[in-house]
């Protein structure tokens, strides 16, 4: 665990290559490489180029507005921010336990989002790399190419995502940026007609999710040399875990393990997250670098998201997903698998779990109940944590006696994975680019490593397939030596 390749000692002597923007991820980011005359890599950085300012501009706004306001951070998984903020504000309105209906409706909304987001990432963004190869024909390496070569897979991807969006619509009021969750509960239950409409399709959804797990399992296990080593680095990992150590995306306590899988901390109430996690600012990125306080900056960084969650929990509560988790753990061979490409496999196990949970919730009459709100004694500070599709998401607020926000701190999933993504990118740069002539296919290897984490680089762009990629290689005097452009 070191910061090799983060900062070159003599950057002025080196040539700079930028992958700007990184494509087929959510949001805007860029990678810069510094190379010498022999194309040896001296510095690699993943930069997050946007500055959002949400933590600042929600100060002075009334607290009940926040769950709807902060979800505008993102268009892919706004439900995560909507619910993490609601959970923090539950604490502020003094509600430690929601009504059964509200808890299940929020869970349904969240698992609908996990389903749609994981489907979007796997089928639309990553499957072109995984099915065709990282340096395959760039004109086919997209969702349209997948639809032509594997029409059933592409169709399942589209319909899985559509179903997840429908679950969000009936619980939040809109497919994107709804208002369903409010401090202390939710504002609507499902109607019988809405539930029955979802029930018609849910068994297909579970089956297609199982097939997706088997697809990525096959892809992964057929080429262990690539899939178990590409971009690999060892690290600590962290997630929420639910009751009895269950995989739980909505609620639980914090658990962290070291790279060998030994528990670092467990059963941590997330209201006390600051006792365990601190954020470091580095001058070259707008994204902070969190780490475990007890270990320190150098070695205390960690990864979050599907690969962390599936290996951090003790079991999964739904049968099909639990069976797949056991297969994965058996494959890993008794110690944590750290390969970034294993994120895809675990992501699909999670998608299957989300589908199974949605099926169970649709058979629970509590989601039709009118008892939606709980009340309690007003407090002035609250923390809400949720497992978003990309990992652990923290929302922390303070509110004054006039109900206005005075402080906000958000640690989003991708921030938790900041150092991890940088490490993966550096490993790939060393292994594949070092000393070679740079080609589009080689640069895509770097993007493949980033995509494995499904980063949401602060907001969704809705510009899938339209992002241009331009790479320029310049000599130390700044003259253009070589350039590549992808429309």
């Amino acid at each position: 665990m070191s910061y090799q390749l983060e900062t070159a000692p003599n950057p002025e002597k080196l040539r700079r290559i930028a992958i700007d923007p990184v494509s087929r991820v959510e949001g805007h980011g860029k990678v810069t490489l510094l190379l010498d005359e022999q194309n040896k890599v001296h510095q690699v950085r993943l930069h997050i180029v946007e500055f959002r300012g949400f933590e600042k501009f929600i100060q002075g706004r009334p607290y009940w507005e926040v769950p709807v306001l902060v979800q505008r951070l993102c268009g892919i998984c706004p439900v995560s921010h909507h619910l993490a903020a609601s959970k923090a504000l539950d604490a502020i309105v003094g509600v430690s336990k929601l009504t059964p209906a509200a808890e299940k409706l929020r869970r349904l909304m969240h698992y609908g989002q996990m389903l749609q987001s994981h489907a979007l990432h796997f089928f639309h963004l990553s499957s072109p790399d995984l099915l065709f190869g990282f340096d395959s024909d760039v004109t086919r390496r997209n969702i349209v190419g997948v639809a032509q070569a594997h029409p059933e897979i592409a169709k399942h991807g589209v319909l899985l995502r559509k179903f997840g969006q429908e679950v969000i619509r009936v619980t939040a009021g809109k497919r994107v940026h709804g208002t369903g969750s409010v401090p202390g509960g939710v504002n609507k239950a499902l109607t019988i007609a809405e539930r029955d409409e979802l029930l018609k399709d849910i068994y297909h959804i579970v089956q297609w999710s199982r097939e997706a797990v088997h697809l990525i399992q096959k892809v992964h296990t057929q080429d262990p040399g690539l899939y178990n080593s590409f971009g690999i680095f060892r690290s600590n990992f962290m997630s929420l875990v639910g009751h009895d150590g269950d995989l739980d995306f909505y609620h639980g306590t914090l658990r962290a393990r070291d790279d060998n899988g030994n528990i670092l901390f467990d059963h941590v109430d997330y209201q006390n997250y600051q006792s365990h996690i601190e954020e470091e600012v580095r001058p070259w990125s707008y994204m902070k670098f969190p780490y475990f306080r007890a270990i320190g900056k150098e070695n205390g960084w960690y990864k979050v998201g599907p690969l962390a969650r599936v290996q951090n929990c003790d079991q999964i509560s739904t049968p099909f997903a639990e069976q797949e988790r056991r297969e994965f753990v058996d494959y890993a061979g008794g110690s944590p698998l750290h390969a970034p490409l294993a994120y895809h496999w675990t992501r699909m196990i999670e998608m299957l779990h989300a589908a199974e949970v949605i099926k169970d919730l649709l058979h629970d009459d509590d989601i039709l109940s009118g008892d939606l709100m709980a009340h309690g004694e007003r407090a002035f500070e609250g923390v809400g944590v949720i497992e978003a599709p990309r990992g652990t998401l923290f929302h922390h607020y303070r509110v004054d006696e006039n109900d206005l926000i005075t402080m906000a701190n958000l640690i989003v999933s991708t921030t938790n994975n900041n150092q991890a993504m940088n490490e993966a990118v550096r490993h790939v740069a060393r292994r594949y680019l070092h000393g070679r002539e740079i080609t589009e296919g080689l640069l895509n290897h770097i993007e493949v490593a980033i995509r494995a984490f499904d980063p949401c680089l602060s907001c969704a762009t809705h510009a899938l397939g339209q992002m241009a990629l331009e790479v320029e290689l310049r000599d130390p005097e700044g003259a253009l030596v070589h350039s590549l452009r992808r429309a």
Binding site: G60, R61, P62, W64, E65, P67, V68, L69, R72, V93, A172, G173, K174, H177, G178, T179, G180, V182, P183, N187, K188, N402, D403, L404
Partner: protein
Amino acid sequence: MSQTFTLDGDSIPFADGQTILQAATAAGAFIPHLCYHPEFKPHGSCKLCTVKVNGRQTASCTMRATSGMTVESNTEEINAGRRSLVQMLFVEGNHFCPACEQSGNCQLQATAYYLGMMSPHFDHFFPSRALDASHPEVLLDFNRCILCSLCVRASRDVDGKNVFALSGRGIRTRLIVNAASGRLADTDFSPTDKAAEVCPVGVFLKKRRGFAVPIGERRYDKTPISGVPEEA
């Protein structure tokens, strides 16, 4: 009520003393408006209800109906002017519908939809306006004030309190609270006052209510503003 005028070709009956807007509303015809409220004396300031009477522009909320007059309202020319007025209201304040709890219940937003406003068109002013959260039950978000003066009239004419006033001139005109401190908590305002319920936008917010009404059940979710009965 045997007297009539024509509105966009339809015959509209009216009684003596009724304005064009009053008669049209009573007959179920819609003329866009923001500063008009049926319980208050017309103000004629927002100009959104502008119509052409016998070819000349006038505010229909203040113009008395007369027999045989020809009124044009729902024409592309007049609606284009109204659209510009609404766009100017949007850029003069800070109207962020995506995070506003009045979204779906807001007369300004519903009118913009009705008029087919697709963008603000003009540069935003982004004025700096502080909230008044001092009152325990009602929050004032001045960012959304369109200076319709309905709260001023309600507080003065119905509540008998004079809690609100418009202060300043021209582009610097603003809504103020009638207290030495300028804070709502230091007035005799009550959440049950008429002034608390007449705001056509989102200045007056009942605290801690937020997004209690789900999408689909808000005032303008199912029917555009032209089909929603006037609130009395």
